[in-house]
Amino acid sequence: MKLKEYRNDLLGESVFHAKHSSGLNIYIMPKSGYSTTYAIFATEYGSIDTSVKKADGTFETIPEGTAHFLEHKLFEGEELDAFEQFAKTGASANAYTSFDRTAYLFSCNENFEESLGILLDFVQKPYFTQETVEKEQGIIGQEIRMYKDLADWEVMFNLLTALYYEHPVRIDIAGTQESIAKIDADLLYDLYRNFYNLNNMVLCICGNVDCEKVLAVADKHLEKTGGSKIERKFVYESPKPVKPLVEESLSVAQKQFLLGYKEDRKTPEVSLEDELASQIMLEILFGKTSPLFNDLLSKGLVDMGFYNEFFNGFGYACCMIGGTSKDPEQTAEIIRKAVSEAVKTGLDPADFERAKRKLYGSMVKMYNDIEIVSNHLMSIHFGGCKPFAELDACRKLTLERVNRRLRKLKNSYSALSIINPLSQEQ
């Protein structure tokens, strides 16, 4: 198997890529001097996959929360479950489901090859019964209830329901108690066969690792599957929000808010350059050195927890600005005003340079962390880019591009989510 090397001289690092004969894309970044290795094996199947493409080209709806449910169930095995197997190698294993992917991972200091074999095996060999699926409904039910009490989580999902009419990004990653009640073993096996084909997956490894050894384990443990990269359903939706304001009351001390600007997406994906440009734009407008933040701070409207995020994935993109505030409506009003002002004037070149420098610094720092790097390689692959593409994109960023992204922010496309404190009897 041929390994292609991607070299970055500035960082002094290389990423090796191989397309395995089984169809799996493998990325490896050896880190000299490191003792730990991190491996992540992921499929492009997340909570936004609420429909499956059939042979006739039409899409069939499936219950919400299947990707996450399957993530839980893959750990089960016919004889030993995955955790029991990893207990023998000492690796620390976990998994997560996000909007657009399900990932299985481990990190270890020793017995890497054995652990990698376990990872590849357990993800490729589903084993569960109707009985254990029903038991999992109890555990996931508790997980859902746990998140329902977390204001950070609720403020975001409420915002997404206010912004999106149809896009499944508006639903909770784990689904709901009702939707998971509809999941049974047969459905999970069907979905497994569809989404877990190696052509739809990626393996990324970073740390104390040797490429040849990875490929040898891959040869031994990967079984060629049919199938191809799964096509997602893209439905254009109006940039107008469903409603401008959404509120919920929870047992919290202070009001929390999240203001979101929905982007008008004619195509499903935002380019890497635009993604970075949006991050820089948000940093300039709402970062710790921005006049807006310091104005809000002096008015006592926000605190150090004031944050912003460019949030995007297949078919959705929005800018989010949030925090704790005694008056979310007034805070949102000030932010909206600052946005329309900035759209008119454009951003300051000195601010742009400083924000770009900061972004560059954060990218360099990222390469310390084998967990972040592995996840990043996965994102870069799923996003259709090549390793280190972000450094190149950062270098090429221009103020003009950032201003272009800025002009996409329209107050009429925004919505505000507020969590109010629920009076509690103690």
Partner: protein, 425 residues
């Protein structure tokens, strides 16, 4: 490898020179007895992080940080047994990755953080009142917002119930009333006191030899008359009378925390046997609590045990339906009994040693390395992860059971869901 040197009375610097990383890290950790002015110290560390004489306001300081390729500063406080630990730290990209050659980012960051510690923006025996007031507002808000995360709120609450007659039962920031009453002069006094009496550990990971960093701090301490305060912690080897407290909140999920006394006489007492007993009981996904309370009985999504060696406590916490409190408590106690009775195999011990080894050896970033050493601030000698792992490898099953038998339930705290209010999930 880590090099440790004493640069002043009660001030050590621990440095690790390596070119493995893209970034450098400098941490300043301080401990003072919890008998001191907890609220003043807690607010002080936030005020020190806010700005310094050279960069006297928040925007100027943060612009400087942005220019240093997004260097980041953090400050915090925590309990270290019955000592109050304060941390001030800075992380930046390593000089090798600067866009212009010759930029000395790490040295500038060292100057910056030492400036925050030794040269804050003070005048006539007081900090600036507007900065104090702003940071006070943030601190009070953080405290008020502890209730937002019911899990961590419940953990803290259980400790304060369990140790209600001990220093450890105090909140690490003192009380809201004390914070409200603090003056800019009080903070100045706390600052002087801290520089004089705290035990310091400065940690640094960088591609250079950290000599420059050492010089900067040495110079800072050279003007200070040091009188380090003694740090001690009271260990109660026998549990007090069991106490249970319940609070109702309008929540979806109940939170149960059980507080145990471990019988440890001091933090070193049977260190390794307790670590393994706690881990086999509930420290990982191979542990009894995960396998039984979660996997077998489906009672919860998480159920973990956490050992607090510095005070000889063990806490178990889980998120459950309110009506399952008894069921969960019974099962948690049954699993503790199983550890006492030796109901685990040599393979289970092996898995636990490997699991802990994994956790302690996975330190491939500068912050984690500094963190590993700074948590040992009250120890005479600093151990490497390998040295700590070696202690675990010698432990026998008999010793684990013996340690577990000393672990006794002392307190329970339950957040129960108010009926009918928040149950739409």
């Amino acid at each position: 490898m880590a090099k440790v040197r004493t640069i002043a009375d009660g001030v050590r610097i621990c440095t690790v020179q390596t070119d493995r990383f893209k970034s450098a890290f400098i941490g300043v950790s301080m401990v003072v007895p919890m008998t001191g002015n907890l609220s003043a110290n807690a607010l002080l560390i936030k005020v020190l992080k806010h700005s310094c004489k050279k960069y006297p306001d928040f925007v100027k300081l943060n612009r400087k940080l942005d220019e240093l390729y997004g260097a980041s500063i953090a400050a915090g406080f925590s309990k270290k047994g019955e000592a109050q630990m304060l941390d001030l730290e800075i992380s930046c990209i390593d000089d090798r990755f600067a866009l212009k050659s010759g930029e000395k980012i790490t040295a500038e960051c060292a100057e910056l953080i030492s400036g925050m510690l030794f040269n804050p923006d003070v005048k006539k025996g007081a900090f600036k009142s507007d900065i104090v007031d702003e940071e006070r507002r943030f601190l009070l808000q953080d405290i008020e917002e502890e209730i937002n995360n019911k899990r961590t709120y419940a953990q803290k609450k259980c400790v304060s119930i369990q140790c209600r007659n001990e220093l450890f039962g105090k909140r690490i920031y003192g009380t809201k009333e004390e914070i409200e009453a603090l003056t800019p002069e009080d903070l100045y006094e706390a600052w002087q006191n801290l520089l004089r009496t705290a035990t310091f550990l400065i940690t640094c990971v960088s591609s250079d030899d950290c000599r420059q960093v050492e010089r900067i701090f040495k110079k800072g301490f050279s003007k200070i008359e040091r009188q380090p305060a003694e740090i001690t912690t009271e260990f109660r080897t026998r549990p007090g009378k069991f106490r249970r407290v319940e609070e109702q909140f309008p929540v979806n999920q109940g939170k149960l925390v059980l507080g145990f006394r471990t019988g440890k006489k001091n933090k070193e007492d049977n260190f390794a046997a307790y670590v393994l007993a706690a881990d086999i009981f509930g420290g990982n996904v191979y542990s009894k609590l995960f396998l039984n309370v979660r996997e077998k009985l489906s009672l919860c999504y998480y159920c973990w045990a956490r050992l607090i060696s510095e005070k000889g406590l063990l806490m178990v916490d889980c998120g459950i339906d309110t009506e399952n409190e008894k069921k969960a408590t019974d099962e948690i106690l049954a699993q503790l009994k199983a550890v006492c009775d030796g109901d685990f195999t040599d393979d289970d011990i092996k898995a636990s040693v490997m699991g802990m080894r994994e956790r302690w050896l996975s330190m491939d970033n500068p912050g984690a390395i500094c963190g590993w050493y700074s948590t040992q601030i009250t120890d005479e000698t600093l151990c490497t992860p390998e040295e700590k792992v070696a202690l675990l490898e010698k432990v026998t099953k008999k010793e684990i059971c013996a340690a577990a038998k000393h672990i006794k339930l002392e307190a329970a705290y339950m957040i129960s869901a108010q009926e009918g209010e928040k149950d739409e999930a």
